[in-house]
Amino acid sequence: MPIDILMPALSPTMEEGTLSKWLKQEGDTVKSGDVIAEIETDKATMEVEAVDEGVIGKLLVPAGTENVKVNAKIAVLLQDGESASDISTAAAAPAAESAPAAPSQTEEKPASSQAPVPAEPKAPAPNDPEIPAGTEMVSMTVREALRDAMAEEMRADENVFVMGEEVAEYQGAYKITQGLLQEFGPRRVVDTPITEHGFAGVGVGAAMAGLKPIVEFMTFNFAMQAIDQIINSAAKTLYMSGGQMGAPIVFRGPNGAAARVGAQHSQDYAAWYSQIPGLKVVMPYTAADAKGLLKAAIRDPNPVIFLENEILYGHHFDVPKLDDFVLPIGKARIHRAGKDATVVSFGIGMTYAVKAVAELEAMGIDVELIDLRTIRPMDLPTVIESVKKTGRLVTVEEGYPQSSVGTEIATRVMQQAFDYLDAPILTIAGKDVPMPYAANLEKLALPNVAEVVDAVKTVCYK
């Protein structure tokens, strides 16, 4: 059967073009790859190559014809043993009448024929495990809790290893990996060169091959060098591969401001990473949460961003002494129950919130304080349940104010619990400036306890 040669598209947005020149004539033999014509759009001139072999039986569109629709028949190719008489009358139909075989991508479908967008599936996070009565509580620093979490998971799973700058012989820039080299050796505790972009990619590649890397960034400020690998490679591969392979990897390290280290070392990335589908984002406050959630992050088959804080590393908290203390990612924790107003915070933001709540208690305002713990997936149901009870909400974080985690919470609470709100939601965040170095300015740039107290009083109209 003769083969129809169709007007090709140069790009998905092209609808028609000019057939400027025929380079083959009727009766010419063509091989695949031969240039048979030139077509032109407002953007480019392109050659049309033959795909099939044969003899040009008929040119249906004369050279110089403008506005030839994509997929219109422009010529007919005869196969071995065929002659012009084999060309059916249908094939010789006027060229302007296009016969679009393919779904046109530029065609606007009426809204009603559009498939309805399916609802996003929601899986509620499991509750925290019960801690058996009489379990001994051990006071330890966040630093020790993180180290123990890694050591326990490395003992349990040969595929878990830690890599990063100064994690091995130096024992960690902030001593989080203290002792790991001595216990697990250089094969599993890997010092890297100062090469964030490269070693993040190496980590993701190793994870794609089935290992379970813990990649430590000396600070998440340096992970800006690696953010392409974190987002484009780690977060998106599972989806782009149709579920065939993903990256079971933990990126962890201190995030946000420490003290007096200036603008380039003081940024909080919670809101940034929380925007990315395919990532989980954890930001613990207490040592118990740090331990239980880091163990969960290492076991998680997905890429997890684990945001720590240099100032919190030295804080002491009680941690249950259990053989295997693992907490669910995606579940908020009610730090203190209350009835008058809800405060939501996470990570170091909790330090301001905890102090503010104590001051407010002395003033007779009973605040429910929620530690979000995980930023993505976000446990909004716990927040909404609380707001239904209190009718008032304040969020607290150190990050920049625009498009912050707090503004996200405020939007969703407004959409899902509008009728329960008795006051506008207030969001306390860092100021909209790069972090200054001067001690007085740095203090001003960060949130403070008085701001939180005032905000709660404001939403309580007190």
């Binding site: 070693f199 091959a209 484009n232 989806y239 591969s241 579920g243």
Partner: protein, 348 residues
Amino acid sequence: MAPRKSASVSSRKSAAKPAKTDFNGGAIAEFDRETELAAYREMLLIRRFEEKAGQLYGMGFIGGFCHLYIGQEAVVVGMQMAQKEGDQVITAYRDHGHMLACGMNARGVMAELTGRRSGYSRGKGGSMHMFSKEKNFYGGHGIVGAQVSLGTGLAFANKYRGNDSVAVAYFGDGAANQGQVYESFNMAALWKLPIVYIVENNRYAMGTSTTRATAQSNYSLRGTSFGIPGMQVDGMDVRAVKAAADEALAYCRSGKGPIILEMLTYRYRGHSMSDPAKYRTKEEVQKMRSEQDPIEQVRARLIEKGWATEDDLKAIDKEVRDIVADSADFAQSDPEPDVSELYTDILL
């Protein structure tokens, strides 16, 4: 008093670690009849597949970006002939040829190009993002250079597990200027990771020729400062590729660390489908096609040696055309993904 300054300078000079130089890349593998026929068939399959993909793109069945491998077929086919089970392959976005060479089926690749549910990524990846765990093909990456670090990670996993697999990471002359390539070279050399870095030098990074984009256009020397040996290979001759691949893979498997193969090759088509390729002359393209075409070279040898008749080759051509036509029919009739797929495969 001793001249402290000069003493300290000389004491800081570390022993130079020159790249191993006894690779020249000029070897030609001896192919027997079966091997020549296999190479011919594999390269032809890629060529016909790509021509069909171009046609489907022109008809609007394939959307977005579509980068064709036509002209470069000998590189992946020669490499694949030297690899063994368990070796991993990773590349950038000009990836259809690599997938077919890895043994991924034409239907699955073509259906992914048309965004259908039976595509390798269930229609969610497209031309630039396809993977096959089964065939050890790790993508298909759209960010220029990212696959070099990822491939180094695959090699890291091989070393960690103590197996003797080698990772093969392909990138173009354009990607060779990305910083993370050198970060990866450094780590791979430092840790002696089993990886063959393949620079597919097709002379143009999109529309910029190597002479306009690079200070050192001999890419086989790009590992010199890390002590990584390299060789330039005629990437249009599948036998030369195979010979270099044999050497490189043996070097990696023996635990000596990474090696670079610069494949001197050429793409006949534009960078992507919408590239009119005005940055080079038609004569240049035509000269490569008529004098160095990788498929024609094998074809000429087969005929000359009497290893195949025109009819034999026609039969192979027909078999290949049938596979490609079948994949194209399949890719046009397979349904689009179910709408419920929108929210699957984001998290496990």
